[in-house]
Symmetry: C2
Subunit: 334 residues, 2 copies
């Protein structure tokens, strides 16, 4: 009998397989089949974005955040990746018997603060408690609704040949932060998760440049490698990125060298990949850099008239194909 393995939830190839062979097979409808970060609903003429995520990260408190902050940012960011303004969130908790109420309070407080920052409201909730051992501490589901302005049409399908690829900041901070605390590895400086509500970065940009933004994705599970492959296959185009244009924190790169990790596979929780019109790319980049969350933004590549592959031009001048991570780099990263 075939059984679920960790990689089915890793955001890589096996995740894709279970989604297409099971979920799309039975739930089959055009909205779900689009496989966007957030689905677009047309309810009596209003375009609403809708997205769900469960958070199972371990440990629940980590440098730069906690499961509550992450749960709000994750859903706010998925709405933002569709060009939506986040409005309302639900929050559903599954708690293990014996979980300290003081920890729950810290988490709830952190969710409230992150919502306040993002300008979204938690308007529906649910709490389930299961016996000791039936869940590991605390899991949180957040599901969000946002509204999409008329001039915005962001979809994984929309990459055009010649478009520029912007990455809004350094790669891998979340992944290495979680890895370091979980495995007890310490570096010279503490690496913090980048966990942030990205709508703050994009508000003005959507208004001014909305029509020039073709695709957006946040490289969470599966990292930049997974996201760029999703865009290449979703839009039927090729993608070329330049290794020396990808921003990294020194400590993150060191950690990757030390641990033998590919930084393109590392998870991020406060970064976005944007595919934008060539002629507006510099303007958008400069605008991003004005905001603390976009300070390290960089144009890292472009969209090619090529097969649906992702190519990386390395610092030493060679070119290699960037594949979707097959398995699970680090389970329970979000």
């Amino acid at each position: 009998m075939e059984r679920i393995i960790l990689a089915h939830g890793g955001g890589g190839r096996l995740s894709g397989q279970i989604i297409s062979e099971l979920f799309l097979k039975y739930f089959d409808n055009p909205i779900l089949n689009a496989l966007e970060d957030a689905s677009l609903l047309n309810i009596e003429g209003k375009r609403l974005a809708f997205t769900t995520d469960s958070f199972v990260i371990t440990p629940p408190f980590f440098p730069g955040g906690d499961i509550g902050k992450l749960a709000v940012c994750g859903t706010v960011n998925d709405l933002t990746m569709r060009g939506a303004k986040p409005l309302y969130l639900s929050a559903a908790f599954i708690l293990e018997e014996g979980f300290p109420i003081s920890d729950l309070e810290k988490i709830v407080k952190s969710m409230a603060e992150t919502c306040e920052m993002a300008g979204a409201k938690i308007v529906a909730g649910d709490t389930k408690v299961v016996g000791k051992g039936a869940v590991d501490g605390i899991f949180i589901n957040t599901t969000g609704i946002g509204i999409v302005d008329d001039h915005i049409n962001i979809s994984v399908k929309n990459a055009e040949v010649g478009d520029k690829i912007i990455l809004t900041g350094t790669l891998g901070d979340h992944g290495i932060a979680i890895l370091s605390i979980r495995e007890g590895i310490s570096f010279e400086t503490e690496i913090k998760s980048d966990c942030s509500p990205l709508n703050l970065l994009f508000e003005g940009i959507f208004e001014k440049y909305g029509e020039y933004i073709h695709v957006m994705r946040d490289p969470t599970r599966g990292g930049l490698a997974a996201v760029l492959n999703e865009i290449a296959s979703g839009s039927g185009k090729g993608i070329l990125i330049y290794e020396n244009r990808i921003p990294y924190k020194e400590e993150v790169l060191n950690a990757c060298y030390m641990l033998g990790l590919d930084p393109l596979h590392l998870a991020n929780e406060g970064k976005a990949v944007m595919i934008v019109s060539q002629d507006k790319a510099e303007e958008i980049l400069n605008r991003l850099k004005e905001h603390p969350l976009g300070r390290d933004a960089s144009i890292i590549g472009e969209v090619l008239d090529a097969d649906k592959n992702v190519y990386l031009k390395t610092s030493i001048g060679t070119t290699r194909i960037v594949d979707v991570p097959a398995g699970e780099l680090l389970p329970r990263i979000c």
Copy 2:
């Protein structure tokens, strides 16, 4: 240090306490504070209902359904209890490493069939896999969006003195079905869960009688006792019900006698309590009885100009106060 206990998720007094002392304290906003089965959102003039629920039932397959059917019905029913027409659902799975893929397929298929029946679509999803022992098998979160017609204004606050209380069918089927399979207790006839999408029962009724329906709730966790107390305290009225008007299946009552359970505390997954205008109660009742899901409907009591208590007139003529269940009758019932 105070810790979470099972009763914090039981739908009774301790659930209420953690909601008000923790969630409402931090998330504080009028939509959430209303504590309805589904929240009412006003998005650019459209009234949408929004609700979330996680399902942690054990075992995942039970007489009359499975966790997938339950997850769809639960959310469809919460939308229906606000008078909404269910439109879109998200489905987020948390799976234990090693969970049989064939079981997952049965569950997904069952969700798809229930959605088809209810006329709702699953348009957003998420899958997380956690290591063996970090979750017990499978948990599912469903979050739903529905649309509310203009003439409908159903809220736990709206009970009026003189209103009649309708229960749409027999009480306790789900609770006893789960208990029997879990504890290996068998009865002469197999008791099946009543798990059903209730929007099917109400479609025509909302259209014709929407304005005469003041309150609706489905008596899930905490049972009829919890729901009537929520209505009494939400609307500031008293409630009187008559024991001999409450419909039960013979086997469910026998099981309660045998196990010493109060049937008013048992969970239901395909029944609703309605508080309706006195002069339309009979008409609505007759209409309900025409539908297979409402065949056993009964007017079980009325709303009183009294303190916020729930009174039960027993079959032997005495009156007792029906209290909110303090603890957890049966954990992981949904």
